[in-house]
């Protein structure tokens, strides 16, 4: 087995003439938590979108779990074990928490094609379990999530990812719109993933958070990876100089 759960070689994405991502060589070890940082438009989200196959890459290779992969779409990526929390919430507002957690992977009492009978009781129990292991507190899981705060909804979204996490979790700015307490809760979930040995790619603008949570920091600038630094060999000022381009040109 290779050392890496995920590896990209020469990953490139062009939108017409715009080179959003150029020759990205990236590795992620088993159980490792890596942050992806960079200015707006540096290529962070583009990078994530190529891995999760929300978009199709222009060139390069993605090696996941020891084998080159060519996912047709995010669904296939998920089925292969890559769980993603997207910047835009991927939740159905009118459904309750268990329905959202199990959306697309419902449990059934009785299989009958589209009219399969849902096993609501077991799904609810498993939801409570999942919320417990991720330490997410939701006052009433039977309410449609429309009635919940942005933070609670984000927690549901992340709990879903964490509960089904198998091989790799990717979070694209999971705390961008959250309050202090809610951010803390999301960070707790991330620590829980670390304890369980689930590898993570965290896209974040928040350097305090990044230094708090991850093992390694990868800096993007103008579509290129300009630095990949272990947390203990760098500091905030160093990272900022890479982001802004004061330092750079270090080929990784």
């Amino acid at each position: 087995m290779s050392d890496f759960i995920l590896e990209t070689r020469g990953l490139t994405k062009r939108y017409g003439g715009v080179h959003a991502l150029e020759d990205a060589n990236f590795t992620l070890r088993h159980g490792e938590h890596v942050a992806v940082v960079g200015d707006n438009g540096a290529g962070k989200s583009t990078f994530v979108r190529q891995i999760t196959a929300v978009e199709q890459r222009s060139a390069g290779e993605v090696i996941f779990d020891g084998a080159p992969v060519n996912f047709a779409g995010p669904l296939q990526a998920r089925e292969s074990g890559i769980e993603t929390v997207f910047q835009t919430l991927a939740l159905a507002d009118d459904l309750d928490v268990p329905s959202n957690l199990f959306l697309g992977r419902e449990l059934f009492k009785f299989k009958l094609g589209p009219f399969s009978i849902l096993d609501r009781k077991t799904m609810r129990e498993k939801t409570m379990e999942a919320l417990k292991t991720t330490a997410v507190k939701i006052p009433n899981v039977d309410n449609p999530i429309r009635n919940m705060s942005g933070g609670q909804r984000q927690c549901v979204s992340i709990a879903r990812t964490a509960a089904f996490a198998s091989k790799l979790v990717i979070m694209d700015e999971p705390t961008a719109a959250l309050g202090v307490q809610e951010t803390a809760q999301v960070e707790n979930i991330i620590r829980g993933l670390k304890d369980r040995g689930v590898p993570l790619i965290l896209v974040s603008h928040n350097l305090r958070q990044v230094f708090d949570l991850v093992d390694r920091i990868v800096v993007f600038r103008r579509g290129r990876i300009v630095a990949s630094l272990r947390k203990d060999e760098t500091d905030g000022n160093d990272i900022v100089s890479y982001i802004t381009g004061v330092k750079g040109g270090v080929e990784v």
């Binding site: 997207f86 006052p139 009635n147 307490q181």
Partner: protein, 357 residues
Amino acid sequence: MAEPNHGLGGLKYDPSKKARPQELNVFVALLIIVAAFEILGRLILGDSFLFNTRDNVEGLFNTQRLSIIILQVATVGIIAIGVTQVIITGGIDLSSGSVVGATAMVAMSFAQTALVNGNPNPKAIFGDWAMDLPILVPILIGLGCGLIAGLINGALVAYTKIPPFIATLGMMVSARGFARWWSTGNPISFPTESYNAIGSGMRPVFVFIALAVLFHLIMTYTKYGKHSYAIGSNEQATRMSGINVDRHKVLVYVIAGMLASVAAIVVSSKGQTAQANMGVMYELDAIAMAVIGGISLQGGRGSIIGTVIGALIFGVIISGFTFLKLDAYYQEMVKGAIIVGAVVLDQWRQKSRGARV
């Protein structure tokens, strides 16, 4: 299991403040409307809307009026059950009335008797081979018409990505044209006795109730129901969750089309004849029933129970106007106002919900 004071970020959950189900509000509205007609009737006509005031009839209630209301509601109500599902997925189906017309014509053509009072059937569409067929033949052919219309609607919506409004508007015009072409505009009559029996007496009501119960269970307890709500709630998220949204939409429109054809069989059997202009405006009545019943046109919210109560409200209002001897022209005008009013109410509901978050 949820602890009442299990707070998050200082938020407390109070179970007693849980929102009342929408259906209860709609039901209260039904009671208020019935009461309003009762009071107006007593004041204006000196007659009761709800209760029996005749000496020559037994019973507390005016069962004749009530059964007419339910019977009137039942046919369009069957369509409304399908329309409800379409609206819950965030779509709309304008074709159901025309599908009723087309299906009635086709189904009736296979339900005719060879001899009428000893003479050959004067309205015969086909030759002898299509006469006195078993009851199952016109029913299956009728359901087939709905299935085809639904398949076309669903495929247009799901795969060409044109708005459901346009796709089903096209079907509305084309299916009506088909109904007129089928017998070059002539009515089709003299069905077999077994076909007649489908819509006789209060049977349409039983068909309506049975279908309402069936689809209530399906929408509440099955994958089909869950995914319908999910699509109407957040189509993108549903797609990302690995659900085949396009295929699901086709299924929803097929079910709606087939329910329209059930209504067509019932209504043509009840009238013992089929005409090309059968079911005109049924689609709007069905949509009105759903919207009055609390189905959100934005998708994702509402229930079959709501639509059933909405259908009753609709029937009570129409019957109430007749009872008050309001002219038929006014009835149409008021009907339009009710539909618009129900949508306005839905918008308000959504706004107040939004503000509560």
